[in-house]
């Protein structure tokens, strides 16, 4: 029974069940839910990066017809409790992040009041009628400013802007660097930006006075996390709070995995007013109030021998935490991602996370990994250039080999366990990418074109991605009274196709056709425990839970059928939706009959002998530690040194996420992740000025890639099964996003090497390329000469 079923659904390339409703306009996103008589909410947000509220007058707003209520932070003191950082550290100097601060505001976009009105139009009118006096305070608009001695303080009265200083080390990097035959150092600045799910955040709530229950619809990636936070803040039992992530959520990408003040304010106001209230974030709000990932600055030094073998890496990371610490997950992941797929005997990583007067930062697809990969992969290229070696060859010499797993890196991962790569084949990924990009031919072409004054470049980037994090995820399977199998997940999806994937996994565990299996997600009233969709974790945690619950359910169904058929369980198997004795449909019981006997029963009548009541199973899977997906990207670009324009001629992705449940969907994850990564590599920049005022607050100022920017990709997979879960799966949601900034930056510097341009900042924009060319003295001459000729 543990063997693969005759027609395995795991691995099948299936279109999705979700698509029919989404393609016909029948999706059920939060703003589509019909909540009769619901009021609309709009938040008043700070126009200042740092200010004290000295006066607040909403009388004019309240007088506007259609306005039901206005609440300032001071009006809701009973819920002004800190929203705790998700990932903490004993040394973290934590500043309480309040749902709607009553006194001091710390970033542009921080909510300070909410208007509740008959329509969003009226609510927004009323916002303009609220009169607030501010005492504007000095603000911090960068990590450099935050760490500058004697500069302004993010939080008035604090002693410094440092959130936490942490180190990760293995061996003795200082000594290894002092004795290394070669060392190189560089400063890198890596910008990431926002999640930019096409559906912004939204929350709606309705209180039922008769039951004392508060129902909350929330676009969150983590409904159980939200419920737990609300339970603590409201001092209500979790059973009286039902958090539902709607069946359709329009993208997540990290920001929706966080917990925000709006999620506290809206349900509470609904409870106070005894009216349903709905808030839907608009895009302008999303730009200034949804968490983003923003920037890190890395001071890196590497030591290596004459063959290019790494001896030591030292990296000092400045991380922008924003106005409050929503969690240390991102910088902590960065620190453990720096060594990547390479053998580094001596590691010293120092993190300086600091506060700034900008919206708090948190995970965005990739979550701290793209920055680390950028730094390490840029340095691999620098080592090659320094020694006159080929960049692919330098990587080959340093990669962890396929027979070295489990591989202990020597430092810790964010899940609290030693960073231990479970499985993989990094050389196969690199060689696959090198071969498919046509590496040798591209090198020859590069030489040929340079003679014509054209600049071709090849960029490689290899990465390892910790995913499938604990503590657990679970699933319940129940035979419904109508004879269908209902798989209930705590996990909430945002487009990943859970209704399809988990039906596939359950089908194999049950040995039943998918047609009899339904999947439901993201509702705290349906399953008590859950964590949420983040960190590419659901397939590796929820997947095994569904498989196990399905196997248990198969045993329960067949046991029950055997009793009713009067035979041994070994003689029973499914044919369609019937459990048959010896394959004979004439001697069978249907799933509906099984439900009739074991679930519905006959009132007051004793169950047949041998039948166990209640056909329901549950399983929670707790991974021993993170699983590690990996990949290699290769980019072939041409750069125009006059304009700084980059043309991507070819792009190859090698991806390894272990067992693939549905290749169609995994390819979609990788290619979509790549587009996001390409945005980080070339376009997206959350610009703030020195006064910490956001400068990019619309899609006119912040460029998301369209079909015109994303090139075709050649994608290949290898499958190194994870030994850490029974399905052998790893995460697939973020890998595509991680290496593109590194691959593109490497390709651009490789292209411009004859001109001496050094690429140290991401995104790699035309302006930065031109700046880098101008900074290279030799370039100035060559440009001048070229102009003379033309």
């Amino acid at each position: 029974m543990d063997g693969p079923m005759p027609e395995a659904m795991i691995g099948a390339r299936l279109p999705r069940r979700e698509d029919q409703r989404l393609l016909t306009g029948q999706g059920r996103y939060l703003d589509d839910l019909d909540l009769p008589d619901a009021l609309a909410a709009a938040f008043l947000r700070s126009p200042h990066a740092h200010a004290r509220i000295t006066a607040f007058d909403a009388s004019e707003a309240l007088a506007l017809p259609g306005v039901v209520a206005v609440f300032s932070g001071a009006d809701l003191m009973e819920i002004q409790k800190p929203l705790a950082p998700k990932v903490q550290h004993p040394q973290l100097r934590d500043y309480p992040r309040l749902p709607m601060p009553p006194e001091e505001l710390h970033y542009v976009g921080e909510a300070l009041a909410v208007v509740i009105a008959e329509s969003r139009y009226i609510a927004e009118d009323a916002l303009e009628l609220i009169d607030v006096d501010y005492e504007v305070l000095p603000a911090v608009g960068s990590t450099a400013a935050a760490l500058r001695p004697g500069g302004p303080l993010v939080h008035t009265g604090d002693e410094s802007n440092v959130a936490v200083l942490l180190t990760q080390s293995a061996g003795n990097a200082a000594e290894a660097l002092s004795t290394a035959p070669h060392t190189l150092s560089e400063e890198f600045f890596v910008m990431r930006g926002g999640g930019h799910s096409m559906e912004p955040r939204a929350v709606a709530a309705r209180f039922e006075p008769a039951t004392g229950q508060l129902t909350i619809w929330d676009t969150t990636q983590s409904p159980h996390y939200a419920r737990q936070q609300l339970s603590m803040i409201y001092e209500m039992a979790e059973d009286d709070l039902r958090v539902i992530a709607p069946p359709d959520v329009g993208g997540g990408f990290g920001p929706k995995a966080q917990f925000y003040g709006e999620e506290v304010v809206i349900p509470w106001v609904a409870k106070r007013l005894r009216r349903a209230v709905k808030w839907v974030e608009d895009r302008q709000e999303n730009f200034v109030s949804a968490m983003m990932e923003r920037s890190q600055t890395h001071q890196v030094e590497v030591g290596f021998d004459a063959d290019g073998r790494l001896l030591a890496v030292k990296d000092v990371i400045e991380h922008d935490q924003g106005a409050y610490c929503a969690g240390l997950q991102v910088p902590s992941i960065t620190t453990s991602t720096v060594p990547g797929p390479y053998k580094v005997p001596n590691i010293d990583i120092e993190l300086r996370a600091c506060y700034t007067n900008m919206v708090p930062t948190s995970s965005v697809r990739g979550a701290g990994r793209p920055q680390a990969v950028f730094v390490m992969e840029r340095m691999m290229d620098r080592i090659a250039a320094h020694l006159g070696l080929d960049p692919a060859e330098v990587r080959r010499r340093n990669l962890i080999q396929a027979d070295e797993f489990p591989y202990q890196v020597g430092i810790m991962f964010r899940d609290g366990s030693p960073l231990t790569y479970d499985s993989g084949n990094f050389p196969a990924l690199l060689e696959g990418a090198v071969e498919r990009i046509g590496y040798d031919e591209a090198r020859r072409e590069q030489v040929r074109l340079r003679e014509q004054g054209r600049y071709l470049g090849i960029g490689l980037a290899v990465y390892v991605e910790g995913c499938g994090l604990g503590p657990y995820e679970g699933a319940k399977i129940r035979l419904t009274n109508r004879g269908r199998l209902l798989v209930t997940l705590a996990a909430a999806g945002q487009g990943q196709g859970y209704e399809t994937i988990y039906a596939q996994i359950a089908a194999d565990g049950l040995g039943l056709d998918m047609a009899y299996i339904d999947v439901t997600t993201g509702d705290t009233a349906r399953i008590p425990f859950g964590q949420g969709t983040f960190a590419s974790r659901i397939t590796a945690t929820c997947g095994p839970a569904v498989f196990e619950a399905a196997k248990q359910m198969r045993a329960r169904l067949l046991d029950t059928a055997a009793v009713l058929l009067g035979c041994d369980v070994s003689e029973v198997d499914f044919d369609g939706n019937h459990a048959c004795l010896g394959g004979d449909r004439e001697k069978s019981v249907s799933l509906q009959q099984l439900a009739q006997v074991a679930n519905i029963g006959k009132h007051g009548i004793t169950l047949p002998r041998g039948i166990t009541a209640g056909l329901e199973t549950a399983s929670y899977f707790s991974p021993e530690r993170a699983a590690y997906a990996s990949g290699a990207h290769a980019a072939l670009v041409e750069v125009d040194p006059e304009t700084g324009g980059i043309t991507i001629l070819k792009y190859v992705i090698g991806h390894d996420c272990g067992t693939v449940i549905n290749p169609l969907l995994v390819d979609g994850q990788v290619l979509g992740g790549f587009a996001h990564g390409l945005g980080n590599a070339m376009y997206e920049e959350a610009v703030y000025d020195d006064e910490a005022t956001p400068q990019a607050t619309s899609y006119l100022d912040y460029a998301l890639v369209s079909s015109a920017e994303v090139p075709p990709v050649e994608l290949f997979h290898i499958h190194s099964s994870s030994p850490l879960n029974p399905l052998g799966v790893k995460g697939a949601g973020e890998g595509g996003t991680v290496p593109p900034p590194a691959a593109i930056a490497n390709a651009v510097e490789d292209a411009l090497r004859p001109l001496g341009a050094r690429v140290t900042r991401a995104p790699v924009t035309p302006a930065r390329i031109v700046d880098a060319l101008l900074a290279a003295a030799s370039v100035a001459d060559s440009v001048a000469e070229k102009k003379k000729v033309s």
């Binding site: 279109p15 999705r16 979700e18 698509d19 029919q20 989404l22 393609l23 016909t24 306009g25 029948q26 999706g27 996103y29 703003d31 589509d32 019909d34 017809p65 139009y121 009118d125 930019h196 799910s197 096409m198 559906e199 912004p200 359709d248 959520v249 329009g250 993208g251 990408f253 608009d282 895009r283 302008q284 945002q494 487009g495 990943q496 196709g497 169609l664 969907l665 390819d667 979609g668 290619l671 979509g672 992740g673 790549f674 587009a675 996001h676 619309s698 899609y699 006119l700 998301l704 369209s706 079909s707 015109a708 994303v710 075709p712 990709v713 595509g736």
Partner: protein, 161 residues
């Protein structure tokens, strides 16, 4: 802000007549979503860039967030709800499904309407033109691969599901 009299708007949406009184400032997108309860038209940016709200007005792909409801008086409006016939997906919808051209699905109605309008003009011959047709809409999930393939499939008359 001032109290403004409502205006009467009459027209058709997906062939069905409507006759409603609306605030002059009500956007077409909110009119469709809230008055007519056609919630397939989504709002992604409300400043005309992302294209999630794209509908077809008198044959032209139009941002419903940038048009007022009063402007469709006398017009024929088409939305995503009108693409399938009796539950059977149109060839473009089938292609989206086959090619995994959607994930979260939020931007999907806008893509479907933009591409539907463009394909009626029969101008897509190759991948570059397919990308051009798609480039007025933003998708954060798919990386556009399946979308490009879907446009090409339908432009080239491929309709196998």
């Amino acid at each position: 802000m001032l109290e403004q009299a409502t205006r009467r708007v009459r027209g058709t949406v997906n062939g069905d007549p409507f006759d409603e009184a609306v605030d002059p400032r009500l956007t077409l997108a909110d009119f469709l979503r809230e008055k007519l309860r056609l919630t397939g038209t989504h709002l992604g940016c409300e400043h005309g860039v992302c294209g999630a709200c794209t509908v077809i007005v008198d044959g032209a792909a139009t941002r419903a967030c940038l048009m007022l409801a009063v402007q469709v008086d006398g017009a024929a409006v088409e939305t995503v709800e009108g693409l399938a016939t009796d539950g059977e997906l149109a060839p473009l919808q089938q292609a989206f499904k086959r090619n995994h051209a959607l994930q979260c699905g939020f931007c999907t109605p806008g893509f479907l309407m933009s591409v539907t309008a463009a394909l009626r003009e029969d101008t897509v011959r190759d991948e570059a033109q397919a990308r051009e047709v798609l480039s007025g809409n933003i998708c954060r999930c798919t990386g556009y691969t399946g979308l490009v393939q879907s446009v090409l499939d339908v432009a080239n008359g491929r309709s196998d599901a």
